[in-house]
């Protein structure tokens, strides 16, 4: 099997400091992959580079045979990769419905179809269509951010720390929806601090430390790895 999304030895720098060094990550079609690691390891940088928000200094990002690096973010979305950043980046003074409509900007004719799908995923959004995004709770905003990304009808969904700032009950609810999306065939690349959740959802996992891949393997195996247990799962 060949990877649908692949970074090939990318190096990303902020000024003189390199945040990612020689990072190669592969995601196969329909696969869910997580990237875990401590704060500042470069997880967000990795996702932002794939999304076109940042440019790699060296290396390539390839999606479905097409080079992504150097393309602006708005072009990457058009190719089928939607990105939900940790900051959510919603439009606070616009309604839930307007936020979702703009999510379908790349394919406006599919708006109604995708809207029905998103409302099925997060029924709460349907009840709040007229509410301004900025006045919603953190959990609702996270749902809206994922919903907005899904409005583009992506083939790959990238999520950065979707559980941050959410109550445990909401986190569980959200992960349930993510596993539904995975079951429906969506390819998922997830960066997450809550390691048990990430490992439970995904097929494979990369451990990123200090900007380099330290470990990679099936999520199930990493769940049993003593070193992972000690470093990330808080178990002795």
């Amino acid at each position: 099997m060949s990877a649908v999304l692949r970074t090939e030895g990318i190096e990303v720098r902020y000024g003189e400091t390199s945040v990612l060094r020689d990072v190669t990550v592969e995601v196969e079609r329909g696969e869910a992959v997580s990237v875990i690691g401590p704060n500042g390891a470069g997880k967000t940088t990795l996702l932002k580079t794939i999304a076109g928000v940042l440019r790699p200094r060296h290396g390539r990002v390839v999606y479905d045979g097409v080079r992504l690096d150097g393309r602006p973010a708005h072009r990457v979305v058009r190719l089928g990769i939607a990105y939900v950043p940790a900051e959510k980046e919603l439009f606070p003074q616009m309604t839930v419905l307007e936020n979702l409509q703009l999510g379908a900007y790349v394919n406006p004719t599919a708006t109604d179809e995708h809207l029905a799908f998103v409302f099925g995923l997060f029924p709460r959004l349907r009840e709040r269509t007229g509410q301004l995004a900025g006045t919603m709770s953190g959990g609702e905003q996270q749902m809206l951010a994922i919903g907005r990304a899904m409005m583009a009808g992506p083939k790959v969904l990238m999520l950065d720390e979707p559980s941050t700032g959410l109550a445990p009950k909401l986190v569980a609810e959200m992960y349930e929806q993510l596993s539904r999306l995975k079951a429906a065939g969506l390819t998922i690349l997830l960066a997450e601090q809550q390691v048990p959740l990430a490992l439970a959802l995904t097929d494979r996992t990369y451990v990123l430390e200090n900007g380099a891949i330290r470990l990679a393997g099936p999520s199930r195996d990493l769940l049993g790895d003593p070193e992972i247990k000690r470093a990330y799962l808080g178990l002795a």
Partner: protein, 285 residues
């Protein structure tokens, strides 16, 4: 009293036409356009020259407005390119310097090349009776043009997907890019649209009284004051502020003269910044 009030509203609507462009360009691109009044002059002078060349008046007005938009397009694609490459404060400062230079260039060129050109459009019917008051039909004409332009603009921003994309960039440019919206292209569109609105204000000025090549600076300053009072990111606020300051300006000009009127308008802007830094109707875009 009433005639002054009417004059104020009419002039205020024109100011709104100018200021809304400043608001949009700033909100979208972070560039405060100091040559915005000059765009109005470009539109007005083009119209005057076309009429002088024998073109039908209505066609000349339309072409003048389109000309201002075309000029804005050229500015966006040439002069503003380095500004848009910079970010944050650097872009703001570069934008100020570049557009200030542009305003001087336009003023100098037009005053030198067309020193006695002025746009004065006369309507066949000088005035009409409106509820017991004699109102100049030119006043009604300019107001209708401005109100129509606003309705179209607001309809575009609120109802169409591209209009919503414009608002989304103002609120969160990163978020807009992640939705697949090309901020650069949208910015160009808005600059052209703002240029046309400015051109419309210029033509309307010719209808209302007379537009000369030397009025660019005054237009820019008035537009900036209105944009500040309305809130540089709020479109509705800008519309309201234009009418409000137009009325203030008309009364102040009548009772204390134009020089003091300018100072009073600046005071109004200063007080707004102190009391409501985000403008009259903050965030009500």
């Amino acid at each position: 009293m009433i005639p002054i009030l009417i004059d104020g509203v009419v002039q205020g609507l024109q100011l709104s036409l100018l200021a809304v462009g400043i608001t949009l360009i700033y909100g979208l691109g972070g560039v405060l356009n100091l040559a915005h009044g000059q765009l109005a002059i470009v539109g007005g002078v083009a119209t005057a020259l076309l009429i002088g060349g024998g073109v039908n008046v209505v066609a000349a007005c339309v072409l003048g407005v389109l000309g201002a938009g075309l000029f804005a397009l050229v500015v966006d694609r040439s002069l503003l390119v380095p500004a848009y490459r910079a970010h944050g404060e650097e872009r703001l400062l570069l934008g100020l310097v570049l557009t200030l230079g542009l305003s001087l260039l336009i003023d100098g060129y037009l005053n030198y090349q067309f020193p006695n050109t002025a746009l004065t459009l006369r309507l066949p019917v000088p005035s009409v009776n409106l509820g017991g008051f004699r109102v100049r039909s030119a006043s009604i004409g300019t107001s209708l043009i401005a109100i129509l332009a606003f309705l179209v603009l607001l309809g575009f921003l609120r109802r169409t997907l591209v209009g919503k994309a414009v608002r989304s960039i103002i609120q969160n440019e990163v978020g807009a890019e992640l939705c697949g919206i090309d901020a650069t292209r949208t910015r160009t569109l808005i600059l052209v649209l703002s240029g046309m609105l400015a051109g419309l204000a210029g033509v309307a000025q010719g209808l209302f009284s007379s537009l000369g090549t030397e009025m660019g600076v005054e237009f820019t300053i008035l537009g900036l004051i209105v944009a500040v009072v309305g809130g540089v990111r709020s479109i509705n606020g800008t519309l309201a502020a234009g009418v409000l300051l137009g009325i203030v300006n008309a009364f102040a000009s009548y009772y204390v003269g134009t020089y003091l009127a300018f100072i009073i308008l600046l005071l109004a802007a200063m007080i707004t910044i102190l009391v409501r830094p985000s403008g009259l109707l903050a965030y009500w875009t």
